[in-house]
């Protein structure tokens, strides 16, 4: 349908934005302009974008490491992405936190902490709050990797969501590795989606390299959660097409996986698909890329001219209540 095509293209554009923005972040990292690390979602944009475009204002979203596409689709900006990576004082994290630890809780966009699994119960709690207020029709979404499913936090958070029958959508990107650790050293079930029944939640699996499939399956999962179907887990099979971070050459990735269909680039496939289906012309896509590249370049340049955080101006406190602050 027209609507589906429009939504597909919307998702595709967020994939493009994410890919182009992240390529730029990588080059800034190589140029020594970004310290700490840069963590990319290359190969996972279709899954992440599919989630983002299926969420609305009023939903809650706690993305993870490789969700640049989904973040943008949920309302995050390339500007704040670069501000956070470069530690601009004007970014939402004000240089206090950086890179993927980015969000605006007041807008339902939660900044991850590094400890994997910890966001699952957070989103469940947010949904409990909505339930208290009798709000319906909204969902809470969060993302995790194959490694993240081994954390106790994932287990406790998902179980709470199941017990409370909350509209949680937990998207698990099985990109075959947790840093260097392959699935075989991470879990022993045949498929991660086999975990669903043990929590009493609905399980979906999907080919993470296909934007069309991700749009369909993630769309169904979000829809079903919205309709009161309770927690949903979506497990996508795909491959991380970059290092764990830009410091990592990913030499440990099995070449056969790279050659296999799981190793295909979802962006390349989506572009092919668009052309085959005649959703858009090569020229149009080319112009989209050009536009985005231009925006990314100008944002990168702008942010590098922005004020850095000022240690002197900082209020060095972790306490919001002024009367309860002390300097030790």
């Amino acid at each position: 349908s027209k609507k589906d095509i429009a939504l597909y293209l919307r998702a595709f554009k967020f994939m493009l934005q994410a890919r182009i923005a992240e390529d730029k972040l990588a080059s800034l990292y190589r140029a020594g302009k970004i310290v700490g690390g840069v963590f990319l979602g290359k190969g996972q944009e279709a899954l992440s974008a599919s989630l983002g475009v299926n969420l609305r204002k009023g939903d809650v979203f706690a993305p993870l490491i490789r969700d640049q596409a989904g973040r943008l689709a949920f309302g995050d900006t390339i500007l704040d992405t670069f501000r956070t990576y470069l530690g601009s004082a004007l970014g939402s994290m004000r240089g206090r936190d950086g890179n993927i630890h980015r969000g605006r809780p007041q807008e339902g966009y939660y900044p991850m902490i590094s400890h994997l699994g910890a966001m699952v119960s957070l989103v469940s709690g947010a949904l409990m709050a909505r339930k208290f207020r009798g709000e319906t029709g909204m969902v809470g979404a969060t993302c995790l990797g194959d490694g993240g499913t081994s954390t106790g936090a994932f287990h406790e958070g998902l179980n709470i969501a199941a017990v409370e029958k909350l509209p949680l959508v937990l998207v698990i990107a099985n990109n075959q590795y947790a840093y260097s650790t392959p699935n075989t050293r991470q879990f022993a079930c045949k498929e991660l989606v086999d975990k669903a029944i043990g929590y009493g939640v609905q399980g979906h699996d999907v080919d993470g390299t296909s934007l069309a499939e991700c749009m369909r399956v993630v769309g169904e999962a979000v829809e079903s959660a919205r309709k009161g179907g309770g927690p949903q887990i979506v497990v996508a099979k795909l491959l991380r097409l970059v290092g764990h971070g830009e410091h990592d050459d990913a030499g440990y990735i099995d070449v056969n996986l790279k050659k296999a269909s799981v190793g295909q680039d979802c962006l390349v496939l989506a572009e092919k698909y668009i052309l085959n289906q005649g959703f858009a012309t090569a020229e149009e896509i080319k112009s989209w890329k050009a536009e985005i590249s231009e925006e990314v370049e100008s944002v990168a340049a702008r942010v590098q001219r922005e004020p850095l955080p000022d240690p002197e101006g900082e209020e060095w406190t972790a306490i919001s209540t002024e009367t309860l602050r002390e300097s030790i």
Binding site: M119, V120, S121, G125, A126, M128, A318, S320
Partner: protein, 321 residues
């Protein structure tokens, strides 16, 4: 009418639920059962839907409370024993405590920890964990010693925008009584001179306040007037009140039920030594639990923790220095 420390905690929660629709209680067995210690007795009946039994998942419980707080609620979490809060420690110190600094959005959760030693409690139902919470930036750590404080400080905890770790002492639950609940409350960040004195200051908090008061009473017969300072809240810590007392007495003994290394007593001595060195006529002293797990048998436990007797002896030694 008389009310216990435990009932005061129950009453404070009832009032918080009554006055603020954003308040709810989440924890193991807090619902119809009323909690392991009955601190939420009848609250579910009185406030249907606002007191929820949780699964056996401390990390998940705290995480959920934080998420609910982000959506405008004021969750009160009850841990069944403080000792088990360790399983929710990551969510408290890395998620709740960092949120305001990282995003400017506060995290108004209150975590109630039934804490401290009792007869037969043993290594895993007796711990005093205030120091490890106070070490982390971003938390308010309350340690009420009286019925009145248990009530007013818990109400304050729920009202505060920052995450509050509320240490309620199990040893005080039943036997500590007051005539009535306070109308006006001393702000939680002010320490209290629990007994005025002249010859030495004992700085302490929570259940040890009562051991210290008994020791001070005993020392009267030795002709000494001992001042006892109840810290009430250990983070932020009201150093001024402590310094003012030491300025009067010139001598300080810090007493805590927790383990010695890096405990409240170390922090207090560090502050007084750096800021009030000139006020001290003798080296500041500290008395803590022994540096082992809390033993099960009452005979061992009675020696493991400071008591009126050992506090009195330590004070006598201090007075001779």
């Amino acid at each position: 009418m008389s009310i216990t420390y435990l009932e005061a905690i129950r009453e404070a929660q009832a009032r918080a639920l009554a006055e603020d629709p954003r308040v709810f209680i989440y924890g193991q067995d807090v619902g119809a059962f009323g909690g392991a210690f009955k601190a939420t007795k009848n609250l579910l009946k009185e406030y249907p839907g606002r007191v929820l039994d949780s699964p056996l998942s401390e990390d998940g419980i705290v995480g959920a409370a934080i998420g609910a707080a982000l959506e405008g609620m004021r969750p009160i979490v009850e841990m069944q024993f403080a000792d088990f809060s360790i399983c929710g420690f990551n969510q408290i110190v890395n998620q709740a405590a960092t949120l305001y600094y990282r995003t400017g959005v506060p995290c108004p959760i209150t975590v109630r920890l039934p804490s401290g030693g009792t007869e037969g409690g043993g290594p895993f139902h007796s711990q005093s964990m205030e120091a490890i919470y106070a070490h982390y930036p971003g938390l308010i750590v309350m340690t009420p010693a009286t019925v009145e404080d248990a009530y007013s400080m818990l109400l304050e905890a729920v009202a505060i925008d920052d995450p509050v770790i509320f240490f309620e002492h199990k040893f005080l639950y039943y036997h500590l009584k007051a005539e009535k609940l306070p109308e006006v409350a001393v702000p939680c960040n002010k320490a209290r001179v629990a007994r005025a004195g002249r010859d030495a200051t004992i700085v302490t908090y929570s259940a040890m306040v009562h051991e210290a008061l008994a020791a001070a009473e005993e020392l009267v017969s030795d002709g000494y007037q001992i001042e006892v300072v109840d810290l009430r809240t250990i983070k932020p810590l009201d150093t001024d009140t402590v310094l003012a007392s030491v300025a009067r007495t010139g001598r300080m003994l810090c007493v805590g039920e927790a383990w010695p290394w890096g405990g409240v007593t170390a922090e207090v001595i560090a502050r007084v030594a750096t800021e009030g060195f000139g006020l001290l006529d003798a080296p500041p002293q500290r008395l803590n639990a022994k540096d082992t797990p809390v033993p099960y048998h009452p005979r061992l436990w009675g020696t493991h923790r400071p008591t009126a007797q050992t506090i009195a002896n330590a004070t006598r030694r201090l007075l001779k220095l």
